[in-house]
């Protein structure tokens, strides 16, 4: 025996642009189910019922919640990717996932926001620490180079076989002076 079609089947098979209009009435304009039924009859010559609109609205709202949370997380991810020097890919993913969860949750609370801020803060701190270490390494490298130059210059200065002109030339070479 064929199954009875669901009440909202007619609405779910509407062309995409009409579905968008329907969503707009229900979600953005927040108009009553009765008014939606009336509008569809007047504008589209479509007979429906309050029950069908109610079913459609429930499913649309349910789907919309996840779709919008996903979009929000994607937008955030795209923003974070604009600054790859601050957040690595794994951190970007962790932040986007948390943002998605906050957006999708009905009862997002301060604790969850703190957790998100902690992820961001930890990464920023790690990045600063890495920059400090890099600077220290560069300082050490410069000091080592200067020390080597000083030793080489001293060796040249103490070499009795060199004339003053030769000595001056060699010392310039040691310090990279043309």
């Amino acid at each position: 025996m064929p199954r009875k079609p669901r009440a909202d089947a007619k609405l779910r098979s509407l062309p995409p642009e009409r579905k968008d209009t329907l969503r707009q009435w229900l979600v953005d304009e927040n108009i009553s189910y009765e008014e939606v039924v009336k509008r569809m009859g007047e504008l589209w010559n479509l007979k429906s019922s309050v029950g069908a609109v109610s079913d459609f609205f429930a499913k649309e709202c349910f789907s919309l919640r996840f779709r919008e949370a996903s979009k929000l997380a994607e937008d955030l991810s795209a923003t974070l990717k604009e600054s790859p020097q601050v957040f690595d890919e794994a951190t970007n993913k962790a932040i986007s996932q948390k943002a998605f969860e906050l957006a999708v949750a009905k009862d997002a609370n301060v604790g969850e926001l703190v957790q998100l801020a902690k992820i961001i803060g930890d990464t920023a701190r790690l990045k600063l620490k890495a920059q400090e270490v890099e600077l220290d390494l560069r300082r050490i490298s410069i000091l080592e180079k200067r020390e080597a130059q000083a030793e080489a210059a001293e060796t040249v200065a103490r070499n009795p076989a060199l004339t003053p002109q030769e000595r001056e030339q060699k010392i310039k070479e040691v310090f990279g002076i043309q």
Partner: protein, 84 residues
């Protein structure tokens, strides 16, 4: 609401989530906001188990907290959703 419709709605939610994992609690709350009669947690877990057993969904655990499982739709789940 019959079981098949509930399972299809769970798959729909996960498919709309664009690859982000959905916490079990958030999924149940969203479901109960939109549909009547509301489902209790054990009944909802049964539906999740049914979908998990058939590899239509998968889950992961959060490394940062002791929160509940977070669900994702599998390729098999995506294909099943199109057939519904």
């Amino acid at each position: 609401m019959n079981h098949a419709v509930i399972r299809k709605l769970i798959l729909t939610a996960l498919a709309e989530s664009g690859g982000y994992a959905v916490p079990e609690k958030a999924l149940l709350i969203a479901f109960n906001i939109s549909f009547r009669p509301p489902l209790d947690a054990p009944a909802f877990k049964d539906h999740l188990s049914w979908l998990l057993d058939r590899h239509l969904i998968d889950y992961l655990k959060d490394d940062l907290s002791e929160d509940d499982r977070k669900f994702l739709i599998t390729e098999k789940g995506q294909a099943a959703l199109k057939r519904f």
